[in-house]
């Protein structure tokens, strides 16, 4: 009996469980293959919703569903913390002592925020004037603080890269501008966006478009700002090179790390706990029967649900190839596709991969209907509709018509000098 173990039942793990349960349904029915998936908590969060909770657009109830209901019946779901992964003996040990022996393991444990990594962040003022929105609790606390905020200095800071959904902090800034405009408070609120990057976003072409939006929305941009410490009592964020940014309300995007067990497994992950992974095949570097997907990997793609979705298509093929003893296909190109909420019922859409920067054009087809790298109402509606797509098509692991895993070049306006066939 072959045993496949998936660690983590977030976006990536759930999609893999659904895809593999379908692809291997005959083997599972015949009793020659079984699949187990492990996650430590019972709730599946629609993570794009975390951005909207602080502004009262979504409630917590609208952003969560039970984990088990998103998983196929043919897969065994174990709710437990993962104690360790031993790649030498091909075993996973759970917190309650249960040991799972696997033939193939997929690490899909995502990221977690570690606010303690910034000196002072979890000290005085944490949860009072210093917040985060990467957890349900954090997003809810921030919602209350924004409701009560009557004016002053709002500071948004990315502590260090990589982070989950690199556009989310910018979207937060745009939505804050909209939120305070609607409440008639915009003139009493200053908004500053401080990032360790040398531009507003990770991709230069995109940074230029976004910088223009920031300017129009009167959001001050502080680049190459590497936060060294924060004082919640004085309301000061100080960089390693001694620049001080004062605030009345700090929205911090804390340091991200992978699951703790990854750092404890020799050769599995990097210093941040992200799995050392082949960027094209998604096989872990530690051993051939270990794979990784989604935010848990160290591949140089954005940590985002769309990336996990595209990776899942490639990884499913490679898992099946591995089980059949065939060579893997280097099929993943780093494809990401993100809506960027810009407020006032508009959104931007970007589509890119390892080699191609976000370009202007149309998506998913050359004629549209959605414009790329340009604000539009249709993109905003797309973002809102995406919640239903997420639960009903993405998590079940269905392909999207017209949007293959490999990024399409059609519809994008390439700069003439770099265009290739």
């Amino acid at each position: 009996m072959r045993h496949l173990v998936i660690l983590g039942a977030g976006t990536a793990g759930t999609v893999m469980a659904n895809r593999l349960a379908r692809s291997l349904r005959r083997e599972i029915a015949a009793g020659t293959t079984r699949i187990t998936i492990v996650d430590q908590d019972p709730v599946h969060i629609y993570q794009p919703g975390l951005l909207f909770i602080p502004f009262g657009v979504y409630t917590v109830d609208q952003a969560v569903r039970g984990r088990a209901a998103q998983l196929p019946k043919a897969v065994r779901y174990v709710q437990s913390r993962i104690e360790s992964l031993d790649t030498a003996t091909d075993t996973v040990t759970l917190a309650d002592g249960e040991v799972l022996s696997y033939d193939l393991c997929i690490v899909a444990t995502g990221t977690r925020i570690v606010p303690e990594e910034l000196d002072g962040l979890t000290g005085a003022g944490w949860g009072e004037r210093m917040f985060e929105f990467y957890t349900l609790e954090g997003a809810e606390r921030l919602a209350k603080a924004l409701q009560e905020f009557k004016g002053g200095r709002l500071l948004i800071n990315v502590v260090e890269m990589p982070i989950k959904c690199p556009v989310a902090p910018l979207e937060f800034a745009f939505l804050a501008d909209w939120f305070f405009t609607e409440r008639g408070l915009r003139d009493k609120v200053s908004i500053t966006y401080a990032t360790p990057l040398d531009g507003a976003f990770t991709k230069p072409a995109c940074s230029r478009s976004l910088a223009y939006l920031l300017e129009g929305k009167r959001i001050a941009l502080e680049t190459e700002f590497n936060a060294g410490r924060v004082d919640g009592t004085a309301g000061e964020l100080v960089s390693w090179d001694e620049r001080t940014l004062p605030f009345d309300l700090l929205v911090s995007i804390p340091t991200h790390k992978g699951a703790e067990f990854i750092t404890r497994a020799p050769g599995l992950g990097n210093e941040m706990g992200f799995v050392l992974t082949d960027p094209r095949t998604l096989q872990a570097k530690v051993k051939p029967n270990v794979f990784a997907i989604g935010d848990a990997t160290d591949v140089p793609a954005s940590k985002a649900g769309s990336v996990a979705h595209f990776e899942a298509e490639v990884l499913t093929g490679n898992v099946l190839r591995f089980l059949e003893g065939k060579p893997l296909e280097p099929g993943f190109d780093g494809h990401a596709n993100c809506f960027i909420e810009t407020g006032h019922h508009k959104a931007l859409l970007i589509d890119f991969n390892y080699e191609t920067e976000p370009l202007p054009g149309n998506f998913p087809f050359a004629w549209g209907p959605m414009p790329l790298l340009k604000e539009s109402r249709l993109n905003h509606l797309g973002k809102l509709a995406f919640r239903h797509v997420y639960w009903n098509a993405l998590l079940p692991g269905h392909d999207f018509p017209g949007i293959p895993a490999r990024m399409k070049r059609a519809g994008k306006r390439f700069p003439v000098a770099t265009a290739t066939p």
Partner: protein, 101 residues
């Protein structure tokens, strides 16, 4: 001695070929970036960066530098203001670190 003008570089000033680098070129790269004159403390970082790159194929992050180069993060920012990982990589003649995605 390869002069700075004679070596191929990226739009951001990183060397196209790490093999073009030598210690004199580093001094020129440093001067161009407003760093230096290069002291033993600078060299501790630069040598560590270059060795890491030659062994692992990618430069270290600021976090690793602070832990393992022998120079803490605070001093790294004094030696290489603004972005130590990026700036030191450029002076050490290695490609821009992948850390900033």
């Amino acid at each position: 001695m390869p002069a700075l003008t004679a070596v191929a570089r990226t739009a951001e000033g990183f060397l196209e070929r790490a093999s073009d680098w030598d210690r004199d070129l580093a001094a020129e790269l440093a001067a161009e970036s407003g760093v230096g004159p290069l002291t033993d403390r600078h060299w501790l970082v630069l040598d560590y960066m270059r060795n890491t790159y030659l062994v692992k194929g990618d430069g270290p992050t600021i976090r690793t530098l602070g832990k393992e180069s022998g120079v803490d993060i605070k001093e790294l920012y004094q030696l290489f203001p603004k972005g130590p990982a990026k700036l030191a990589a450029r002076i050490a003649g290695i490609p821009k670190p992948h850390g900033c995605i």
